[in-house]
Symmetry: C2
């Protein structure tokens, strides 16, 4: 079984591979998922419905810093997404609580304005994992 930090690293890796089945397999059935500027969601099905509604062509999350304290894993990241509207680059910090290799709580903190600031897509543009 993965330890809490390994679980979060696997979660980020699954995002970067756009392996969304694996993304959701790493969430506990009753996950509490809170994009802090918005209302929280409860349950893997609700998280999946929300994330599926947010279509992406490419994903690149970069972990700037990660630190773990027991079952709590704190991350500082830049989450990049390529969408039909253009490219997004969102500075974010996320707190994950992990039990038995599954994420039970996930809270992301960011400026919601950053998730609306599209820049034109640059062909090639560093999407190593497109």
């Amino acid at each position: 079984m993965l330890d809490p930090e390994q679980t979060v690293l696997a979660f980020v890796d699954a995002w970067n591979r756009m392996d969304f089945d694996h993304v959701h397999a790493l969430m506990a059935e009753d996950i509490f998922y809170h994009n802090m500027p918005y209302a929280p969601m409860i349950g893997r099905a609700a998280a999946r419905a929300f994330l599926d509604s947010w279509s992406v062509e490419a994903v690149e999350w970069t972990i700037l810093n990660i630190a773990t304290n027991g079952t709590v894993v704190l991350t500082e990241r830049i989450d990049r997404f390529l969408r039909s509207e253009g490219e997004l680059s969102i500075p974010v910090m996320g707190a994950f609580e992990v039990e038995n290799g599954l994420i039970t709580r996930w809270r992301d903190y960011f400026d919601p304005g950053a998730s609306k600031k599209y820049t034109p897509r640059a062909e090639g543009g560093g999407w190593s994992r497109r």
Copy 2:
């Protein structure tokens, strides 16, 4: 000399005591201070001018989670402030980089909308450190 996590705990404690001289003494002279939704500031004097301009009657920061990885300390907090406009309660995550007992880099991630959502002041209201 305080280690990185002790330095951040002392910093939060200084905020809660409203000992702003000590708050600023824990910053490196050339601190890079970035409230992520806004432009970054460089230098203790710039940070102090910014923070002094933001008047508060009471402060209560609560650390929900803290985790340290070498010189990097990541925090998840609720920062409460009592101001003339009312009370603010801001969910925030902050990344601190610490060298020789001084904060060299400080990045706070939050929804800037939360710093404008005042609620009426409740007399007494849990301001233990007023």
